[in-house]
């Protein structure tokens, strides 16, 4: 009797022992929570919990799914190298997620500006399910770098009509980006102060430069004529300072004009790529 009583008491005691947090330590509870974190945009915690889950060597969730989700989380966190680590695991895997994973991997190279990758790999035309996506992003990468070498050849590998059209439009736009020549700007400003700035569409700056140089030039001349040597030289000095600066500034202005136009092109390109679903998430985890 006493022995049985002790047995029951031990049973009670053991039943009352719960781990500190079963939700945290038990693998069946972690995956649903991970999906919740992912779908509410908390990618950092998603990646932390996924890594914990993988370390647990559990069997309830397919490891491929976990690796894919981890890759996506790091991609959303813009940690592309880490993301690559997980997507590249699919390269030699028979998983049905393989095609998706490789496309995500390609997307990473574009987002991480690994343009060298695009020119190096997949140089032979092989008919994998991700080749079209690869060529699409390869063209986009070239456009981003403002280069159009062999771009028509790449375009032939893009079969989707709407994407082809989109890319062709942007290739044309790139070739038509407005440019100003710094040398022309410099020469113009040397002849007529301020005209170089007007050429680069900085109208008020050009007029002010013209006026300032003019005023000091006039003051110099006026003082020299009236015999005020010191003032004459003073105003000449200031005038020369302004004149030289105006030429240099116009050259700079042309260069800045060009880089601003290039930046605008790139922003438009990127906007268009997003709006036209080039970066769409193909697998939907969230309701």
């Amino acid at each position: 009797m006493k022995f049985l009583a002790k047995l029951f008491l031990t049973f009670f005691y053991v039943n009352n022992l719960y781990p500190q947090s079963q939700f945290r330590d038990s693998s069946i509870y972690i995956y649903p929570f991970v999906k919740y974190l992912f779908c509410t945009g908390d990618y950092l915690r998603t990646s932390n919990e996924l890594q914990r889950l993988i370390e647990m060597n559990q069997t309830s969730v397919n490891e491929d799914t976990l690796n894919f989700l981890l890759g996506k989380s790091f991609q959303k966190l813009e940690q592309y190298e880490k993301s690559d680590e997980y997507f590249s695991k699919f390269y030699n895997s028979p998983s049905p997620l393989k095609g998706f994973a490789i496309r995500e991997y390609i997307k990473n190279q574009f987002l991480n500006k690994n343009d060298f990758y695009f020119y190096k790999l997949f140089s032979n035309a092989e008919n994998y399910e991700w080749m079209e996506y690869f060529y699409t992003l390869k063209i986009a990468a070239k456009l981003r770098a403002l280069s159009d070498s062999e771009i028509e050849k790449d375009l032939m590998n893009v079969r989707d009509i709407s994407r082809q059209l989109f890319l062709a439009q942007h290739i044309a736009k790139m070739r038509l980006i407005e440019k100003k020549d710094p040398v022309t700007a410099g020469i113009l400003s040397a002849i007529i102060p301020g005209s170089g700035k007007i050429y680069t569409e900085k109208y008020s700056d050009g007029i002010v430069s013209f006026l300032l140089t003019g005023i000091f030039g006039f003051l110099a001349y006026d003082n020299f004529s009236a015999g005020h040597k010191f003032r004459g030289w003073l105003f000449s000095g200031i005038g020369s300072f302004l004149y030289a600066g105006n030429i240099y500034g116009s050259i700079m202005s042309a260069k800045i004009f060009n880089s601003e136009k290039n930046d605008k092109y790139r922003n438009d390109l990127f906007d268009g790529l997003s709006k036209n679903n080039f970066f769409i998430d193909e697998i939907i985890f969230c309701p």
Partner: protein, 289 residues
């Protein structure tokens, strides 16, 4: 045998009860674990654990507390926008006026620490005007006064403190002390207007009034010199020179003089305030952000 029978009955009954309470126990355990992380100041982990709690708490029993703790954790990490989001959620799940009040109070403390004056003052006017917070009036006056003190409105702070008349209020002694702080600040700060006026009339005077002697003398010298040169130019009929001197030289030094005076006055007053703010942060024992 009878004992065996009774024990097995108790045992089965116990097990079924446990099955029903099983999930609740787990949730409570999760709550305690999360709270432990918060108390250890591991705020990032605390947020993870509270989010976990929220996910599994289908009955929303812990929603108020969990969201409030998440908000406070984000606040400690400097993520004020995220904290605001979670304060709003906690408010939605509050089950009584007191719980809602706690949320508002925590948000106010965050605005004080992050120096967001407009949000703090908006929140104060909300807290002091709500009918369901009338029970907490003394507390509201305390915090309103504290907030105004933080933002260098010592007179306004005093007005709020003076509305706490009952000495049954547990913080009454602290309020007396805070009133004294306000008095001290008001006495020691200098009037920005007076300083600026002095500088308008006599460049450099304002700076000297504030104790910046070198700057004051320098300012005066430049102003006097430029006026002298301009007057000299005008009197010898060199009007163009005179105009140039007044606009390119005198004007800069005159407006610089005013600007410096204003800056010095504001810095001086900020230093007076900071003296007390540091005291509040490190030595004051009463409730503070």
């Amino acid at each position: 045998m009878k004992l065996f029978f009774v024990l097995s009955l108790i045992f089965t009954f116990h097990i079924t009860l446990k099955a029903q309470n099983n999930f609740d126990v787990k949730l409570s355990a999760q709550f305690n674990y999360a709270k432990e992380q918060f108390e250890k100041e591991e705020y990032f982990d605390a947020i993870t654990e509270f989010k976990r709690l929220i996910f599994f708490d289908a009955c929303k029993k812990f929603s108020y507390s969990a969201n409030l703790f998440i908000a406070k954790s984000y606040s400690h990490g400097g993520f004020y926008k995220l904290a605001e989001e979670y304060f709003m959620r906690a408010a939605r799940f509050s089950r009584s006026p007191r719980e809602l009040y706690e949320v508002k109070l925590e948000a106010l403390k965050m605005y004080l620490v992050s120096r967001d004056e407009s949000k703090a003052l908006n929140l104060i006017s909300e807290i002091t005007s709500r009918k369901d917070f009338l029970d907490f009036k003394n507390e509201s006056m305390y915090w309103s006064g504290m907030a105004h003190l933080f933002f260098d409105h010592a007179e306004a702070a005093k007005m709020f403190f003076n509305q706490i008349t009952t000495n049954e209020f547990e913080l009454f002694n602290y309020v007396q002390f805070l009133n004294e702080i306000c008095d001290s600040i008001s006495a020691n700060q200098k009037s920005v207007g007076t300083a600026k006026l002095l500088s308008y009339i006599l460049p450099g005077a304002g700076q000297i009034y504030l104790g910046h002697y070198f700057s004051g003398i320098l300012s005066f010298t430049w102003n006097a010199l430029s006026i002298y040169l301009a007057a000299d130019a005008f009197s010898s009929k060199r009007d163009f020179d005179g105009v140039m001197i007044m606009s390119l030289i005198w004007y800069r030094f005159y407006s610089g003089n005013i600007e410096n005076t204003e800056k010095f006055a504001e810095n001086f007053n900020s230093k007076v305030l900071n003296n007390w703010l540091n005291y509040l942060q490190f030595e004051y024992k009463g409730p503070k952000p």
